[in-house]
Structure formats: C-alpha cells, structure tokens
C-alpha cells in the first residue's frame, strides 16, 4: 500500500443512481471511502446492497453517477482498481474438486505470488488445519466460506469488498473475521462489507440503503 497517498479519498461516489426493473434501488447516493475505514452497507432484503458492491468492482455497469478512484474517474482505472481489490460475492469462488490449498494457489496466484507455506499457514489461521488436502466438495458450507476468506490473509490488497461474508460462519469464525476487518482498516485498508448483524468495530461507517 503506497505510503504517499496516505490521506486521500480512495473511492468516492457522487450521485449514484441505480434502478432495476423500474424499481429505483438508490439515488443521490454519496459517500467517500478513506483509508482506515470499514464501511458497512445496511439495508433490508432487496435494497440493492449486492448491486452496489458489484458496481464498485466493475461487475455491473447499469448505473448512473460518478465514481472516482483516488480522485480520478474510475472508468479509466479499472486495471488499478482490480490490482488492489479483493471481492467476495454470494458465490464463494471455490472449485469443488480442488483442495483448499490448490484453490488458493490459483485464486491468490492470479495477482500475488505466494509460496506453499504461506497458503498452509493462512488456511491454518482460518481454522482449516487438517483440511488442506480434502477436496472442497467434502467441506461444509462454512468451511468453504473459510477457504474463500483465507484470501484476505494472503493478498496485500487495499480494498476489500465483501458481500455477506459472515453467512454460515460460526461464532468463532465471526470473531475472527471481525478482527481481520479491523486489522485491515488499522493498516490503512478500506473495507466495504454487507451483513445483517451488528458489527462491533471502532472505525465503522454505516451506509444505509433503507
């Protein structure tokens, strides 16, 4: 994470507007994400949280308004955004026939070079010790979620965009993830996260979609 841009606005939205099927999901949405912020997006079911997160990653371009990345229009800088982004959606991105280790080797390896020990260490941290070499279809729902979350430990990315990462995690997993989020923020990262449960973090910003 480059040191010189310390206090800049990482990601800023101005007058975002989005509708689907003639239902306006949000309009005049403004927010600024600084380094060190965890932004929790709240809202009832169907209020557009997932849609918003996908917009931020460039996985959805059916919106109007202005998005800037370090104060520059985001359209021209998707490459930059992608190289400092981790996204986790409703689908976890874990191949069922590969083992957790092999899954991470690829999904992390797409952007960062890692060695095997790091991967095994990260899996251990996420409570998957002993499961490194089981194929993922034998893992429970929560364990697959944990495989996907291990990426957070291996990529040194600035921006985390996490869509309901707490589902299917048990209490201990929830605590672990909360700790990770606040650590990331403390190190100057930015986190967007949607969840329906109360997050207990010091540097939390709420963004309510209604």
């Amino acid at each position: 994470m480059a040191q010189e841009r310390e206090i800049q606005n990482v990601l800023q939205a101005e007058n975002l507007f989005c509708e689907r099927d003639n239902r306006v999901l949000f309009k005049d949405l403004n927010f600024t994400a600084h380094r060190g912020q965890v932004i929790q997006i709240k809202g009832s079911n169907g209020s557009g949280k997932t849609t918003l997160l996908r917009i931020l990653c460039g996985l959805n371009d059916a919106f109007r308004g202005e998005l800037t990345w370090f104060s520059k229009p985001i359209q021209d800088h998707w490459e930059d955004v992608r190289s400092s982004l981790i996204y986790m959606g409703h689908r976890v991105g874990v191949n069922k026939v590969l083992t957790p280790h092999e899954n991470l080797r690829w999904s992390v390896g797409l952007s960062t070079s890692v060695i095997n020990e790091q991967i095994d260490h990260a899996l251990g941290e996420m409570g998957l010790r002993g499961f490194e070499d089981s194929q993922c279809f034998t893992l429970s729902a929560g364990q697959q979620q944990r495989v996907s979350l291990s990426r957070l430990l291996l990529n040194k990315s600035l921006l985390w965009v996490l869509d309901e990462p707490f589902t299917t995690l048990d209490q201990e997993g929830v605590n672990l993830l909360e700790r990770l989020l606040s650590q990331h923020a403390n190190k100057g990262g930015v986190v967007f996260v949607t969840t329906h449960h109360e997050l207990l973090l010091p540097n939390l910003t709420l963004l309510d979609l209604g």
């Binding site: 990653c57 996985l59 069922k96 690829w106 952007s111």
Partner: protein, 227 residues
Amino acid sequence: MDQVTTIEAFTATLKRDLLVAYKRKNDIFNPFMFFLIVCSLFPIGISPDPARLGEIASGVLWISALLASLLAMDSLYRNDFEDGSLEQLLLSPHPLYFLVLAKNMAHWLVSGLPVVIVSPLVAYMLSLPDDAYWVMFLTLLLGTPILSLLGSIGVALTVGLGSRGLILAVITLPMSVPVLIAGTLTVQEALNGASLSGYMAVLGAMFFGSLTLAPLASATALRISVT
C-alpha cells in the same frame, strides 16, 4: 509477496485447469469415448457395408469430432461460473485475453487432443481409404483447436443461462461450418490425389485467425455474461 506478471498468471491458470481435469479424469476420457461411440453409431444406423462406409467416413469423422469438441465445451466456464471463480478471473488485474487463452489451451489439450490421436484407428474401422489417414489426422490436428476457440465464444455467451446444453450447440454449430467444409474438402481432395498445400493453408489461416481473434471475443462475451 509480489505482484505477478501476466505470464505467471497465464501459467497459473493453465496449470489449474489441467489439474482440475486431471482430478476429474472424465474430462479427458469422455470426449474421446463420445467420439468413438458416435462414430460407431453410423455403421449401425446407415450401413455396415465397407464400400459405402468408406465414402462417408471422412464426413462422419469430422462431424463426430465437431460434436465431441462442441459438447465438451460446456465444462469450459460453467463450473467456474457456478462456484464464483469466473468472477475472480474477471477481477484479476491481467488482460483477460491471456487468461481465456490459457483456459482454451488447457481445454483443448484435455478434450481435443485425445480425439485427434485416436482418429486414425476410427478411420480404419470406418474403412476410410488408406491414403487419407495422414490427411485426416493433420486436418483434425489443425481443425479441432479452431473448433475449441470458436466454441469458447459460444460458451462464454451462454454461461449464465439457466437452460443449457443445446443453446450452445445452436449458436456454435453454424459458426463451425466453414471449418467443417475446409476439413472435409481437404480430405476428399486428398482422396482424389490433388495437391494439399492450398487446402492446408486455408485451415492454417483459419487457425491463426481464430487464435488471435476468438479469445478477444470470448473475453468480451464473458464480461457481458457475468455483469
């Protein structure tokens, strides 16, 4: 922990796809079996008479290879789409062109190459005249990668759809007709004793054309399907 180069990302993707295929085994075995079985339906459905079989053999081989390569395509992006890996691929900082190329390459190695290798045996069983074996083999070797590359566009376009299977075929088969024509013509001309360099050049041109253009189209199609 450094950023990786595009080439590293390319090999990582290639390796991963080969690994998935290796673990599933069936991905390698099935296109090949499908090819064998479909080819052996023709003597039963049409005629067991060697003379008549020999006449239709080159067409049958090419059509079966086309269908095998087409139907094997389904597994190219589908699983990745369903488990979310495809989103990760799209969000990687590297040009999608190369990642798509890596996936196509892995896929052809796994599903196309075995078909090409077994084709002389099947050609014998279908009483293809002796002189045409080598030509058959070569046209398939050049032709099946083209079919894979074209098929990849079709799969990419249809990857998010609920109903699958045949929509892919309906989109891709018409695209593949020129390859089929070039392939079977080459074999037939070989049987007539004509010189082949011209025909092979056409196939070669198609090959290089699709190698450069098709992954671009696939990449675009993937972005459209996933967003």
